[in-house]
Amino acid sequence: MCGIAALQIKNPEMGPQLGTLLHSMTCDLIERGPDSAGLAVYDDPQTMQGAASLVSLLGIDLPLPAAELADRLTERLEGAETTVEAVGHTTLVRSQASTDALLQALEELAPEASVIGQGSHVAVMKGVGNPREVASAHGLEAMSGTRGVTHTRMATESAVTAAGSHPYSVADDLCLVHNGSFSNHLTVRDELERHGVRFGSDNDSEVAARYVASQLEEGADLETALLRLGEVFDGFYTLVVTTRDGMAVVRDPIACKPCVVAETDDWVAVASEFRALSELPGIESARVFEPEPGRVYTW
């Protein structure tokens, strides 16, 4: 199964409600994925704290105490102020340095740490356990922002681990969540690995995320990247991909996995089931539809 909830704000006045609404949407999808969860929120001022870059690390057990790691990162980044904070099950590293420089410094100073999110707009957080608790532990309800996506996971292709939770964020401000399973992910993974792509988990969805990232890096736009994914990947999927600029949804050509979209002048929302949309403000007059199979929708 797995559950997906995504919300993009169109009316900036609704930004402060993003976290509350997304939290409520997520809780309606717990039955679809009770074992673990993850979330990505874009442009929450409290989370970003004006940093030029933010890297999310899996877990809160670091090789060094947080303050010491922060000091050494700052030093390594030639004085660019860098902080390390444990939030829920995730460690957030904020810096005034660029994302690339911060990632490189982390690779040197905390090589064991697993990067689960990176960029200048997004924070990614994930953990094992009931999605309501995972979301609360990271303070989702209090967040504001421009868009966000959450995922409730029922593990099928790999183990119940925080590393196997979605979203997968493998390039700056790019996140992917997946409901379904890919059957040829190992073949695609081999091909990507031959081109130097490195993986952080055994999860099939990570392969899709890295494939989309590689396509974008080659210059494809998001729609083209997802259409190509449909040609290369075999399996069942509803995918939601978010970037710093927007959001896209695509279902496999057989449309085995559910997906419902609702759109008003104020927001556009995507969920695995209508019930997750049922409490959104203005849902009574929203345009509600199921994405057609194989068609890429972007907002």
Partner: protein
């Protein structure tokens, strides 16, 4: 109309026979509603359900002549296995609407998700909006009238019953169909294996007129084309032996 008191909720079935029972799913669970609808001692014949909020399995397994009107959108399996009852939904329905319906009538004013009326054996399912993929999959006698379009693989392995589509049909309509009869007003993206267009004779126009009327539609039977089985898959032929 009476509303079940929320301070001390009583069993919905305790309502008077003459009463119009109202159940608010923000206050009571789907399980309580369904248990009340199944209760052999229940005598109320008219039910209104509010705040369905896309919840699953509402009004599943009803086996009596009652009318249940749902105000809002319902989730998966609404009206599954329905027998005798008349059910309406003012909004849209999720997957598996009226799955395996036996008799009675299920009417959705909005859209229906995939596998609507799957395996239905009798009764009438009316969807005013669109139905997505696999509408009427393995239908075994149910009648389905869709005001809008149906998605791909609709009427897959349809065995008996009639399906009327006032809009368009998606790819592979009627794949591996047996004896169900399909009527489509708009375009058909493609026909599935062993499904062919067939001549509309008077008996079909009469049948279609009856179905349209039963569903409250205003289309004319003259606007539709009929599709059904070429009956080439009924028997094993030696020519196919090399396929095994």
């Amino acid at each position: 109309m009476s509303t079940l008191p929320t301070a001390a909720p009583r069993h919905p079935a305790e309502a008077d026979a003459a009463e119009h029972v109202s159940v608010d799913l923000a206050e009571q669970s789907v399980r309580e509603l369904n248990a009340a609808l199944h209760d052999p001692a229940a005598t109320a014949t008219r039910w209104t359900v509010t705040h369905p909020r896309g919840l699953h399995s509402i009004a599943v397994g009803v086996d009596r002549e009652v009318r249940v009107d749902v105000e809002g959108h319902v989730g998966y399996y609404f009206g599954g296995m329905n027998k005798h009852a008349t059910l309406t939904v003012s909004g849209s329905a999720g997957q598996g609407l009226a799955e395996n319906i036996m008799s009675g009538r299920v009417h959705v004013h909005g859209d229906a998700s995939q596998s609507a009326a799957a395996t239905g054996r009798g009764g009438l399912v009316v969807i005013d909006g669109n139905a997505s993929a696999r509408c009427g999959i393995s239908m075994k006698g149910v009648d389905i009238v869709v005001g809008g379009s149906v998605g791909h693989m609709s009427a897959f392995m349809a065995q008996a019953g009639r399906m009327v589509v006032c809009g368009d049909a998606g790819e592979s309509l009627g794949d591996s169909i047996y004896e169900a009869r399909l009527y489509v007003k708009g375009s058909v993206a493609s026909l599935g294996t062993d499904c062919v267009e067939k001549q509309m004779r008077d008996e079909h126009r009469r049948e279609l007129a009856g179905l349209l009327q039963a569903a409250g539609r205003t289309e004319s039977p003259e606007e539709f084309r009929r599709y059904g089985s070429a009956r080439r898959l009924y028997h094993f032929t030696a020519d196919n032996s090399k396929a095994y």
